[in-house]
Amino acid sequence: MKRASNPPFATLVLLLAAGISASAHHSFGAEYDANKPITLSGIVTKVEWTNPHSFFYLDVKDASGKVSNWKLEGFPPNVLYRTGWKKDVTLKQGDEITVTGWHARDGSDWGHSREVTFKDGKKLFFGPPAGTGDGGNAPAVADPAK
C-alpha cells in the first residue's frame, strides 16, 4: 500500500510489535510461572552443558537449615557462548552463586534461570526472560472474546 504521507525517516522508529517474536525451543509459560519470581543462593552441585537447554543444580539451604537441590534451566551451549559463558570454566561444581528466575508451575524444586551473580559480583545471563515461546502478549489471530 502506498503511503505518501510517511515522513522521510518513518522506518527508523523504536516501536515494533512482536508479530514474529523471538522464539525459543519450548514454551516458557507452560512449564514456568512468570508471576512466581525466585531468587536462590547456594552451591552449584552439577552443570549440564546440553541441548536444547543447559541446566545447573544448586544446593539451597532454607531458614531451618534444610538443604534442597534445585534444578535451573537455561540457554543451550551455543547461546551461552555468545552471552559470555565458557564451558567448564565460568560455572563449576562448588561455586557459590545467586540466581534469579521463575518457579516451575508444578511447585517442584525446579526453576527457569535468568541472571547469575557470582561471588565476585560478576553477573551473566544463563537464561532468557520470562515468556519466550509461549505466545507472548497476544495471539497471532484476533481474539473474538476481546
Binding site: 527508523l12 522508529v13 508479530g19 514474529i20 522464539s23 525451543h25 507452560a30 512449564e31 515461546g133
Partner: protein, 275 residues
C-alpha cells in the same frame, strides 16, 4: 563517531516524526542504499551470517534476550519495520485452533518435539543465526537451529516428484536487486510464525530478500494456504548481519526434558492454561 551521531539524529527525528502516526499494518522498507555489497555477477551479495527475529543491534543478549522485538533499550536497526503486524487471516474454524494453541501457551509447539521449524519460521526466528552461501546458480541457507538447511536453485523449476516435507522445496530468481524465493512441497507439521500458526500441505510461500545496506536485509514473506487462510498472509521484518558470528551446533534431542514434563502438565491443563 560522526556517523553514529548522524544515525542517532536520524533516529531521534524518526521517533518524533513517527509519533503522531499510529497505524495498523506494516510499511515496506524504502529503497536499498548504494552501500549494498555486490557479488562478482553484480547481484547483491547476501553472503554472511545473519539473524532474524530482532531489530536490535548489540550483543547477543541485547539482540535476543533483553532485546529483540520487545525491547525498549538498545539501538534499533535501520530499516526496521514499523507498526503492528497484520493479524493472521485464518478462516474462522482455523482461527479458533490458533487461539486455542495460544491459550495453551504453545505447549503443542512442534519445535518442542525437536521437529524442524519449517518455512518461514526458521528464517524469522531470533536467537539462532543463519548463514547464506551464495553462488550465481545456487543459494544455500544454513540454519543453526536443528541443523536445518535450504538449497535454493536459481532460475530453476520445482521438481515434479516432490513429496511433502518440513522445509519444502525452494527455487529462486532475481527481480532486480531482490532475491525472490518460491517454496512449496510442505507437510502440515510446522508453524508459520507465532504460536499455533498451523498450515496445510497446500502451503505456498513467496519470500523477498532485499539487501538494504551493509547490515540489513529487508524480508517480506507471503504465505498462501487456501485450506486454512482467507487470503495471503504477508509479514515484513528485517534480517540483520552478525559480523564475527559463526554457526555453532544446536542438537535438539540431546537432553530434551520437555516432553516428560508436558506429559505430566497435560494431565491437568488448568495448571498452565491462559483461560
Amino acid at each position: 563517531m560522526a556517523q553514529s551521531r548522524i544515525v542517532s539524529n536520524l533516529m531521534a527525528a524518526a521517533v518524533l516524526a513517527a509519533l503522531p502516526l499510529v497505524t495498523t499494518g506494516q510499511t515496506a522498507a524504502p529503497g536499498a542504499t548504494s552501500k549494498v555489497p555486490r557479488a562478482a555477477d553484480g547481484k547483491p551479495d547476501l553472503n554472511g551470517v545473519w539473524q532474524g527475529g530482532s531489530n536490535r543491534i548489540g550483543t547477543w543478549e541485547e539482540a535476543n534476550g533483553g532485546g529483540g522485538t520487545n525491547a525498549t533499550t538498545g539501538q534499533i536497526t535501520p530499516f526496521a519495520v514499523r507498526g503492528a503486524p497484520e493479524k493472521a487471516p485464518y478462516q474462522p474454524w482455523a482461527a479458533e485452533k490458533v487461539l486455542e494453541s495460544f491459550n495453551r501457551r504453545g505447549i503443542d509447539d512442534p519445535m518442542a518435539r525437536c521437529l524442524s521449524p519449517g518455512v518461514p519460521r526458521t528464517t524469522t526466528m531470533g536467537l539462532f543465526p543463519m548463514q547464506i552461501v551464495q553462488t550465481p546458480k545456487t543459494i544455500v541457507m544454513l540454519f543453526e537451529v536443528f541443523h536445518v538447511f535450504r538449497v535454493i536453485q536459481i532460475d530453476a523449476k520445482h521438481p515434479d516428484d516432490l513429496e511433502s516435507s518440513f522445509m519444502g522445496d525452494s527455487v529462486g530468481h532475481w527481480e532486480g536487486d531482490t532475491l525472490v524465493v518460491d517454496a512449496i512441497g510442505f507437510n502440515d507439521k510446522t508453524w508459520l510464525a507465532g504460536t499455533g500458526t498451523f498450515h496445510s500441505d497446500k502451503l505456498h510461500v513467496i519470500e523477498k530478500f532485499t539487501r538494504m545496506d551493509q547490515n540489513t536485509i529487508a524480508y517480506e514473506v507471503t504465505m498462501e494456504d487456501p485450506a486454512v487462510l482467507t487470503k495471503p498472509w504477508v509479514q515484513r521484518s528485517t534480517i540483520m548481519l552478525r559480523p564475527g558470528t559463526r554457526l555453532r551446533e544446536y542438537e535438539c534431542a540431546e537432553n530434551n526434558t520437555d516432553l516428560d514434563r508436558y506429559e505430566k502438565l497435560l494431565k491437568d491443563e488448568s495448571v498452565f492454561r491462559r483461560k
